[in-house]
Amino acid sequence: MTLSHYLALSGVLFTIGLFGVLTRRNIIGILMSIELLLNAANINFVAFNRFLYPGQHLGQLSVIFVITLAAAEVVVGLALVMAIYKNLKSAYVEDYNILKG
């Protein structure tokens, strides 16, 4: 296993996540795709730390911060999904079309 394997994995994960955000119709699906993007970044951090800068802990430390931020963000996101679901009775983004112009 070399650095390139890890970078390839994270690149693929990032692409899948980006594709998911742009094509999913269900809002929970979009949230999951955003999580994929964040995890791609986490793999990058850890892999760079392990292979390029083995003396440091900065990369691993950053991952802890990113995981915490992701958790906080998803909590707010799900609360907002609940709020809009109560109003519109739908979890599909194409139904969210009151605001336009």
Binding site: L61, V66, L80, V93
Partner: protein, 475 residues
């Protein structure tokens, strides 16, 4: 950890937020407005603290963040915006009394995040302050729970925000891989090592996405009109001023000060995006019928003008951006305050609510015309001087003459939609001719901002002297 004391203003603001949140759980509904006043007092006190520390320059805990006159200037703008927003919220009826504590606390925390952002020198620190702003603002946007527009605006804001944050984090991970640090100080001392590293260039581009989202730069602007229309009006005013200016300040520090141009020249990309931002913003604003949406597109266009100064990035351009930020803050805040009063009376944010406003409240119409003229950049108001400095910097730099020409053309286009509102107020009659009253708090905001717009326009030299003093980033 000896100099954590330098973070005192932020710590006080965050603690005040916590206290207000707690007090909100115990205070009776009929006295809940007291919490707004507590919020106003604490942010005004911190504002005073920032002013007394204006000349300070120091590094905090190692080199995580920095205190310099540039950062202090943006903190001043952010806190002023917070005070105005809280004043506008006091009589905003869509916020339920039992949620006032949460609302005020979230606003203070978002401001705290912005203050941290304006001094950030480490990408992890920067990321956390960006998220503190984003998460607080998502909730504030969706604060009118019963209103489907508010919920929809919040969810769109959240999805775009989540995506851009994720892309930024990916960019930071690439930056880390290329340079071995997330700290901008350590990076700046070894900048020449990374000149042609593709991971580094990709990383910086991805990081630019996060900032582009925050200042609603095209093509990351899709959230702005929807979130602005859906959000409670004081929050809209806050998002369009404080959040945008804080991100602009951090962007100036990173892309125009810390990273030397020979290391990575993103300028041409930002120049192109600035041109797109002002043109698209203005063209879309021409067709709007809702005043909040119109001001949203206008604020996208204004971000484009500010980016011109960032692209030029010499001292004149930087002074231009600082001046523009000040002028934009007071003008936009005032315009939203008037929109709030009119909607409070007529219950509508559509443009026809402005028909015959001059007969219903002459004073309100006159200040609204002033704000609109200032946004369009007509002398002798603040917006004109600001545009003059920014476009002047672009002309001076020779390379970016085309940006200045495009900016002037755009200002001409923008006069059409701004003056359309003025035409409705003065030359169209409405059936309803009952007078429009302004409550004390909103009137205070309108008077302060209108005076500031006039003073900045009439005495630009005085304000420029102050800004010349603030403009240095000692990174």
């Amino acid at each position: 950890m000896t100099n954590i004391i330098l973070l005192n203003p932020e710590i006080i603001l965050a603690a005040a937020g916590l206290f207000i949140l707690l007090a909100g759980a115990f205070i009776g509904e009929n006295r809940a407005k007291l919490l707004f006043h507590l919020g106003i007092i604490s942010s005004a006190a911190v504002l005073g603290m920032i002013i007394t520390q204006a000349g300070l320059s120091a590094y905090g805990t190692g080199t995580m963040w920095i205190l310099d006159p540039g950062a202090q200037f943006f903190k001043f703008l952010i806190l002023a915006a917070t005070v105005f927003t809280l004043l506008l919220s006091v009589n905003y009826t869509a916020i339920q009394p039992r949620h006032i504590g949460t609302y005020t606390a979230l606003l203070l925390w978002a401001s705290c995040g912005m203050m941290l952002l304006s001094g950030a020198m480490d990408f992890i620190y920067l990321l956390i302050s960006l998220e503190l702003i984003s998460i607080s603002c998502f909730i504030l946007t969706g604060f009118e729970q019963k209103n489907p527009r508010s919920a929809e605006g919040a969810i769109k804001y959240f999805l775009m925000g989540g995506l851009s944050t994720a892309v930024t984090i990916y960019g930071i991970s690439l930056f880390y891989g290329a340079t071995g640090t997330t700290n901008l100080f350590s990076y700046a001392s070894a900048v020449d090592l990374h000149l042609s590293d593709p991971a580094y260039i990709m990383g910086m581009l991805f990081i630019l996405v996060g900032f582009g989202f925050k200042i609603s730069m095209v093509p990351f602007h899709f959230w702005a009109p929807d979130a602005y229309e859906g959000a409670p009006t004081p929050v809209t005013a806050y998002l369009s001023t404080a959040s945008k200016l804080a991100a602009l300040g951090a962007m100036m520090r990173i892309f125009a000060s810390v990273i030397p141009h020979h290391a990575l020249n993103l300028t041409i990309i930002i120049a192109g995006l600035a041109a797109l931002t002002m043109t698209l913003g203005n063209l879309a604003a021409l067709f709007q019928t809702n005043v909040k949406r119109l001001l949203a597109y206008s604020s996208i266009a204004q971000a484009g003008y500010m980016l011109i100064g960032l692209v030029v990035a010499d001292p004149i351009g930087r002074e231009g951006v600082f001046f523009y930020a000040l002028a934009y803050l007071v003008t936009n805040m005032g315009a939203f305050a008037v929109a709030l009063v009119v909607a409070g009376k007529t219950g509508s944010y559509e443009l026809d609510a402005y028909d015959g406003l001059a007969k219903r409240s002459l004073g309100l119409s006159i200040v609204m015309v002033m704000f609109l003229l200032s946004l369009a950049g007509i002398p002798p108001l603040a917006g004109f001087v600001a545009k003059f400095y920014v476009f002047g910097a672009a002309v001076n730099s020779q390379h970016y003459l085309w940006l200045a020409v495009l900016g002037v053309l755009n200002s001409v286009v923008s006069i059409y939609y701004y003056m359309n509102i003025a035409r409705r107020m003065f030359f169209v009659n409405s059936e309803d001719s009952s007078p429009v009253e302004t409550d004390l708090y909103t009137a205070g905001v309108i008077v302060i901002t209108a005076t500031a717009v006039l003073l900045i326009g009439l005495l630009p030299e005085t304000f420029m002297r102050m800004i010349k003093y603030c403009v240095s980033f000692h990174f």
